[in-house]
Symmetry: C2
Amino acid sequence: MTAPQDALLVFQPSGRKGRFPIGTPILDAARELGVYVESVCGGRGICGKCQVSVASGKFAKFGIESSEEGLSPKGFKEERYDEKRGLEPGMRLSCSATLQGDIVIDIPDAFRVAGQTIRKDANTVGMLRDPAIRLCYVELDEPDMHNPMGDGDRLCRAIEQQFDLEQLEIQHHLKAELQKILRRGKWEVTAAVHLDGARPQIVALYEGLSDEMSGIAVDIGSTTIAAHLTDLSTGEILASAGVANPQIRFGEDLMSRVSYVMMNDRGLDDLNKAVVDAVNSLIGQLLDMSGRKRSHLLDCVFVANPVMHHLFLGWDPTEIGQAPFALVQSSPVHVAAHEIGLDLPKGTQTYLLPLIAGHVGADAAAVLLAERPQENTEPTLIVDVGTNAEIALWNGTQLFAASSPTGPAFEGAETSCGQRAAPGAIERIRINRDDLTCRYKVIGTEQWSDEDGFVEGVQTTGVTGICGSGIIEIIGEMRLAGILTDDGIIRAPQNEAEQAVLIEHGRTWSFVVREGTPRLVVTQNDVRAIQLAKAALYAGVKLLMDKAELQTLGEIKLAGAFGSYIDPAYAMLLGLVPDCTVENVRAVGNAAGQGALRALLSRGERRSIEETALTVTKIETALEPAFQQHFVDAMGIPNSVDAFPLTRAHFDMDAFVKKTAEAGEKPKRRGRRRERR
Amino acid sequence: MTAPQDALLVFQPSGRKGRFPIGTPILDAARELGVYVESVCGGRGICGKCQVSVASGKFAKFGIESSEEGLSPKGFKEERYDEKRGLEPGMRLSCSATLQGDIVIDIPDAFRVAGQTIRKDANTVGMLRDPAIRLCYVELDEPDMHNPMGDGDRLCRAIEQQFDLEQLEIQHHLKAELQKILRRGKWEVTAAVHLDGARPQIVALYEGLSDEMSGIAVDIGSTTIAAHLTDLSTGEILASAGVANPQIRFGEDLMSRVSYVMMNDRGLDDLNKAVVDAVNSLIGQLLDMSGRKRSHLLDCVFVANPVMHHLFLGWDPTEIGQAPFALVQSSPVHVAAHEIGLDLPKGTQTYLLPLIAGHVGADAAAVLLAERPQENTEPTLIVDVGTNAEIALWNGTQLFAASSPTGPAFEGAETSCGQRAAPGAIERIRINRDDLTCRYKVIGTEQWSDEDGFVEGVQTTGVTGICGSGIIEIIGEMRLAGILTDDGIIRAPQNEAEQAVLIEHGRTWSFVVREGTPRLVVTQNDVRAIQLAKAALYAGVKLLMDKAELQTLGEIKLAGAFGSYIDPAYAMLLGLVPDCTVENVRAVGNAAGQGALRALLSRGERRSIEETALTVTKIETALEPAFQQHFVDAMGIPNSVDAFPLTRAHFDMDAFVKKTAEAGEKPKRRGRRRERR
């Protein structure tokens, strides 16, 4: 009987398998099967990126018994690597180990590394990983007079051959240093190859073996800029940081910034420089935090709304400030980082996701990329609430998108007691139904205001204002407590308890949340501001539902920082979003940022959102005749027309309202401030 | 009988023909047949670039009678064009005129325009014309809210569709201005599209219709830089200018410039800046001379030897100063003009031809492109003599190339009486065989020194020195006059005539060419310098002939400024090049410059030389063992080993030498200076 000529090779966890001739290197087989095994050194046993282990045991599913016998013994390359850099027990270099018999191979879940994320809302677990940059280590022959090919050409040919690339080019800026790097590296170099252009290009070149490559994913919001520094090969988030968008000094909302550009000769430069400087300082911060090298930061992804997108790229946003909202470019932008003023190596690339429409930008595209509503069977609404609200709707067959200018009220601006979500801000609040006093929770302190330790907790921060999610809750609570009408009017006090918490304010009434310094009250104007903002949002959603021919929703996802902190039930109580089973309304965190991370880590994801973006039906809310009526209807709390039965049931509103009606105008016992001083 | 459904269409002068349905626009048919008819406006009858005329008469060859009946009458577009811009009698717009019957169409030879060249040695007659830039005029729809595609995307799609392009991109620097240009142009714009990269790219954008696009072809020599400004659409040379290479102050020859880089920290920057500044000033000069706009100068081609090529691109040439002469890059260079410091629009492209070897550069490639020796049936030698000599040899089956460091002696340096080829320099000279006096011709004056008008002619310039071609002739004449031995020794005077013209100079003798101020003499050292230079050249040629297994040559082409002015017979008399029938030794002018022009006007020519360059067998002369012996042999005049029978016959040397031998040592009548003072 002759020895078997080939053997079955199964890769876990993907389950991909095939028969290969005895002696086939495992790495080669993996590539043939499309199993992603990292390799920087091109199979020289130097980089140690291609490690795998043997899954031992009987695998009935595949009909084989797998053991280490199925692999060749460690050869010279693996022994050398083990000596030099250490190989964990059981681990093998797949470039060196060859197939000897039927075997099941485990690919260590490199994604697991990405589990060590720093912030809960930035997580790369499970994301596809085929980044735009690939590190290629090669050992070149020394130049030979009889082969007059240039050093650069020889480098390209070697990489093309060993990494299966074609028409590789070297970016011009590298050529002046190329010969020195080759010689200092003793003809061993690592090239960073950019794979997301018309042709592969070497964008950076390092002496010797290097496995460091990082990238940043940046969400440029009107109010805040958030960035993650990520290891491009493992997907691990190395550092995260955020900064206020310094453009705020030129205007809180987008339209005021567009006006600034139109009214000031150097307006565009001012706004562009402000955001670029902020991103540059964020980059410095991320590099300091992570200890990574600037010279190895090779790729960037930016997502922003259309106005911010234009301003960041130095493009005049005037045209998107007025109908027909003409964008400079709606397709994705590929540009060198240094060309847009970023203090990064000349070879560092940037990618900006496609824009969906004049007011629905790359940030909305990023949300779609992160959340993939089109993979749901249920009708799904995604709302990303910021100064501008991005709205996406999936009706089971088609994607719809729009944006609605909610203004900054949800971010704590435009209200008398409002403030940013920062330590000292009230973020949760409940009104005692009997005495109408408030108990609340402040950012930076664990305890509620009626719990032990609260006073100590707020000693450094104070209680300084009410942030967006707090405003939503207090207005909802006021409604539940019966001191706010369906129309959003703060009623004149009708009993002692109410007299204690309601104060006259010209011809209107205000609700006192907290005495002290500062005294925090909710005025009639505050309620109006929130009503206008939420009506704009709701009207946008309703327009999309009309277009999508939907009466009800299966799922609602609240994206963005505000969406993450808001209590979904209160969002419905106020009528920000349509009525829905409360359990199906979920915060999905910074989906735009997650989408940016996906695009940073994967070219496949880029292609996917580029395709998706072209399929979206865009609605310009401001120009739809039905918008105005939806808006007026949405001024009510939760809504003057829509019934919100699920929300009413959740809060037992009908019972409560009945109860307060029964209680009539009989004053309750005088409220006492329960906060302990 | 039914009307014919199609008709025969013949284009002249190409002779391409085909049958097309009645009603087919002539421009469409031309494109289908691969006949190059210009069109900027995409067939809108606006640009007037696609004019053709009807060839009337019987064409037995095609079996048809051609007349204006074969074309549709002038329609609205042609009448409008005629009114607005004027249409010459008989001319038709091929985009508008349609086929009505069998016809022969003349394409006006746009190349004829190129006949109006300014300098004899820069001529684009007959060159292929498919430039890297194409102007595309389009009329866009205004933006529409219901089609949220960006203005830039709509521009690309329109051009792609109308000019049959794919994956068109816009260079980033244009995007900031794009919307303003579109609006100022009232949605009519002309885009300049670069077609020689991985993907077509819009590199410039003009309001309305524009048909101006120009380019420069620059030959960067060690000593002089010469440039032509060319109309990219017609091929016409608009202006030509030259300037001394200011790098001369850092070293006359290449190796001294390489040393300067090695010895000085800022040496590379100094040398790079010098040449880039010189090219920038040339560009300014060319634009001033031609009245063309800088914003429409869109493409550049540079040719240079490898050291100049590196220095111009800001690359350290140190490695090519020593074996193994490693180039940074031997393949062609595509880079944005502004990236290499040129004061040109951001979209302006540059192309540098491939390098053939460490010492055989893009200039040699350009010579091959201009002269195409590989299309000859005869063995052909091309020699481009400058401070470095480029040598190419075709043996009927294979191309060989080498370079030889001749030094600047041929350019008038390194000899006591030598000077650049400039007004006042002696360029032609004859020695009277009887009295050994000289008659000569000076650059800037038509008359020889023994003709009327000479004295007046040189009044402003004086007679200041002897340029390269003059040196070659005087040494040849000295040899013919018998005062110089085969070994290059100036003999001691042996008669009265010789005593009058030979003066003692230490232990050697010098020949007095001219008394006066300055007194011009040829010293023994001068002869030695020329011997060394010509021996280096000849040895290089012989090495290539060895490799090519050639004993004799069919044709010799002398390229370069020196090659253009030298008398081919004297070049052989001195043994610069091998013996050959004098009629087959020809000056071919600035072949490198011509090659640069070809590459500027045609992408096809670029691909052609890129292919050719890869087939060339390169010889590094300095490392071939046989070089030394060839060099020593070549010190003789014409050569110590090779017989040069054709040259000897041409000059009737054997008879002359016999005659002088017969004359013995008898002094001739005393020479008198025949120059009239």
